[in-house]
Symmetry: none
Subunit: 120 residues, 4 copies
DNA sequence: GTGGTCTAGACCACC
DNA sequence: GTGGTCTAGACCACT
């Protein structure tokens, strides 16, 4: 597994996005153990400090829990995970619609482009 | 006219986005004169250098032209402007779809949320 | 007659270059009368002040002479005109060679590109 | 290392030209790390912001890449670098020929002057 | 320590 | 008055 990072967003943010994405997609399951900070850092090709920060933020968001001496685990709090999923979905749609309006596209115009894209 | 800037993107970028948005929405028309750097800077509540940078970038993108001593004007190159519109639209849709896939939502799930949102 | 001006050099400089070019090419001859400042300004689509400056500089370079009440004339000083021609030629070649060296191209490489260009 | 700047071109442009020149001449190699913005600024005797602008412009031209917190590096994209070399060469020759024609010199006349110069 | 953003203010060339 | 360049210095995010 190797990662490409975009230059415009912080690496730690991109990693958080990736992990929450894994969670939403079901690639990571409730209660599952995450790799150790160092292990994951090597895997992702980033500095261990960066990875440390990622884990810290994830815990702050309430989606992982740390068991001392054992490692970091995805929370089993299903409600929190469902909530995460809904937050992300809402944010996705909000951003999209806000952008459409900011640029003055019509719904119809966008809808057409999307259908064309799906077919092309 | 007064502006709010988000803390997560550079101000000059947000200004570029705003102006290109005005262009796409038709609030700015081909050949139209933009406010002077200093005037716009005051209006937007930013430093003149920041605005200078915005204008320079816009010129680099080929969507404005500057006439020395006279001011900055929207290009009359309709092709470039049409191209800009399409670029923005495509980018909008691409980002949306890429994000949906990255998070593993289904098209149907998203579609439902959007309809519910439009009704709600 | 209508002119395009490059945005990176002062208009008055471009006009000076154009007129000295006319002189070197023989499109303007010794003793010949130039159009009036206002006439030429209209023709070139520039401000009369700009044209005034052009004429002033040309006179300063010793290549035109002003006869009060009659207008501006190309000098009949053949030596000065010949000198002008040589200056321009030398400068042209100097710039070219200095640039080649600054970029580290070989003479041969440039020679080949020029021949290819002339044939293509 | 110390620099002289001509008064007629922006310093940041001259710095860009110098660096692209180093690249073309091979004094800078693909993947090589450039000095930090601040370091280079001191070296060149310019303000750090001026140097910042130079680096930003180089990145925009696709000839450098920046790794956050690590520094700025020459791209390893050999195609881009080759392209840069050809662009510069073509531009050099184009300018030269355009100027010759604008002034009405004959090819032969120029060729003679150049040979004489090379010998003199 | 690295790049990046922003401000404040001076100064210049052009029209 | 217009755009453009440059400096000086502060502050921030990332590694």
């Amino acid at each position: 597994m190797s990662f490409d990072f975009l230059p415009d967003k912080p690496i730690y943010q991109q990693l958080i996005d990736r992990i929450t994405g894994d969670l939403i997609r079901g690639a990571l399951k409730p209660g599952e153990k995450l790799p150790s900070v160092r292990e994951y850092a090597v895997e992702a090709g980033v500095n261990a400090n960066t990875m440390q920060r990622v884990y810290k933020e994830l815990e702050g968001m309430g989606i992982t829990e740390t068991k001392r001496g054992q490692g970091t685990f995805v929370t089993e709090n299903a409600e929190r995970l469902g909530q995460l999923r809904e937050e992300k979905k809402a944010q996705l749609i909000d951003d999209f619609i806000r952008n459409i309006e900011a640029l003055g596209f019509t719904e119809q115009e966008i809808a057409e482009s999307m259908t064309r894209r799906r077919q092309g």
